[in-house]
């Protein structure tokens, strides 16, 4: 027998399964319902929609059948997310079933529905990881975002219950205009006071129905890059990532629509049994209620994954893709077109490149490149960033 350090083994097997196209990573959205009403959320369902939404969700038995098939095909890691996972009264049954199947499970939760009974069960059936999103360091900011009075205290209580049991907890946040001023305090709270891992994301998406309301709370591109620069760990990770992935695009990369692990080693399942490459892309799905996981993975997701770009855009030959979040899902949500470049992302990527000292080779007609019509505007933001730094 060999005992491997988890991180080393994980990177090694992740490399290996790509060649064999094994669905080793799954994201399973158990429900779209949530007990919070976050201002920026891309989901629109609430826990009050019990009858209209709950009835359509996969049942416990359906989840078990899908898990059996997914593990048979090689699924080792699963992330259970929502909505809020604990709004499902049968969540713990689904969870322990998956544990017995030998799945390494990550839970995404807002933490507000965690009770001593839930925490005890998680301590007995220990997850691989639990990630709680913290929306603010103060009650005012937190509840301004979640829209629910008392949710801050419940979140703090949830964190404490998990910490008391020594569970593998991490905190994270999404940075919005409404909580940007508390990021430093949240980081301090997580890393120094609680000694937990903490990370933040500055990207928020339009609604699943492509509605633009959540974007009212998105940071400006300049603020996004400011956040990168203010965190030394984040900056160093960005630099390493860019060194590795920025650069000339191969013809295979050039033509393929997808560049992530979706359909190669990962899959997603929505609350109603629709299997796809990504939870954010509600297109080209396979209905697991009418067919098997294997059929969906081997005959449908592979075709989605092999889709080619249908036209040439400024993204096609772009060499700073690693600094951008452009993908078919983002193109679809922002522009209702999987290939249409997203203006916000393009601006962030160019600003990042200047801030991190990467050159941007010409890549077609781009407004943010040296001869483009918005280059001057971009450089103005860059100068302001330099002053901040």
């Amino acid at each position: 027998m060999e005992i491997h350090h988890y991180g080393d083994w994980s990177s090694q097997i992740n490399q290996r399964v790509v060649n064999q196209r094994i669905p080793i990573i799954g994201t399973i959205e158990l429900t779209s319902r949530c007990n919070l009403r976050c201002i920026h959320c891309y989901n629109t369902k609430t826990s009050g929609d019990q009858h209209s939404q709950r009835g359509e969700e996969l049942t416990y038995n359906e989840h078990c059948r899908i898990l059996d098939e997914a593990t048979e095909s090689g699924c080792l890691w699963a992330c259970y997310t929502g909505g809020e996972i604990f709004t499902r009264p049968d969540f713990l049954e689904i969870y322990t079933y998956a544990k017995r199947r030998g799945v390494l499970i990550t839970l995404f939760t807002n933490g507000t529905l965690i009770t001593p009974r839930i925490a005890d069960l998680l301590a007995e059936w220990r997850p691989f990881s639990i990630e709680i999103t913290l929306y603010g360091r103060t009650k005012e900011t937190y509840e301004q975002i979640t829209g629910i009075i008392g949710s801050y205290e419940k979140c703090m209580q949830g964190i404490q219950l998990l910490m008391d049991r020594g569970l593998p907890l991490k905190l994270k946040t999404v940075v919005l205009t409404a909580n940007k001023h508390e990021i430093g305090d949240m980081k301090q709270f997580a890393e120094k006071d609680l000694e937990l891992e903490f990370r933040f994301d500055t990207m928020i998406n339009p609604g699943r129905d492509c509605s633009k309301e959540p974007l009212a709370f998105r940071l400006s591109p300049q603020q996004v890059v400011e956040m990168d620069l203010m965190d030394s760990k984040r900056l160093s990770e960005w630099n390493g990532f860019c060194e590795q992935f920025n650069g000339p695009i191969s013809s295979e990369q050039n033509n393929g629509l997808y560049h992530c692990g979706g359909g190669i080693k990962s899959f997603s399942i929505d609350p109603y049994g629709q299997m796809g490459i990504c939870l954010l892309l509600a297109k080209e799905r396979y209905d697991l209620r009418v067919g098997s996981f294997k059929e969906g993975w081997e005959n449908v997701l592979i075709k989605v994954r092999r889709e080619q770009n249908e036209r040439h855009t400024k993204c096609t030959a772009c060499q700073i893709k690693a600094m951008c979040g452009m993908c078919p899902a983002n193109g679809w949500l922002e522009n209702c077109d999987k290939e249409e470049p997203v203006d916000f992302l393009c601006r962030v990527a160019h600003l990042r490149a200047h801030a991190f000292g990467f050159t941007v080779p010409p890549h077609g007609e781009c407004e943010f490149c040296e001869s483009g019509i918005r280059y001057e505007e971009l450089m103005c933001s860059f100068e302001q960033l330099s002053h901040c730094a």
Partner: protein, 97 residues
């Protein structure tokens, strides 16, 4: 070396996964193994694991290996004892009380 008549039993709280040609032992409950580590078995390790049932002795496992593979019993015994000791130390199997 005296070939052992000892039998070991697998912990109840494990799952075995075969992924990408590798056999992985996944601890399911808190009191088994170390969740920061991953336990994998090679071909012979997997062969041994399948024979561990609380009733088959180390001697019988060694004999089974010698029948299946071109290996001397002393070498097989050494390997089986090393493997079962590692499994026991990791809490993945237990000896009779």
């Amino acid at each position: 070396m005296v070939i052992s008549s000892k039998c070991v039993t697998k912990s109840d709280d494990l799952a075995i996964r075969d992924i990408a040609g590798e056999t992985i032992i996944v601890p399911v409950k808190n009191n088994v193994g170390d969740l920061n580590s991953i336990y994998t078995l090679n071909e012979i390790g997997t062969f041994v694991w399948r024979l561990i049932d609380g009733a088959t002795s180390i001697t019988q496992i060694v004999n089974a290996i010698c029948e299946e593979y071109d290996v001397q019993s002393e070498e097989a015994e050494k390997d089986v004892v090393t493997l079962t000791s590692s499994l026991e130390a990791a809490g993945l199997v237990r000896s009779p009380e």
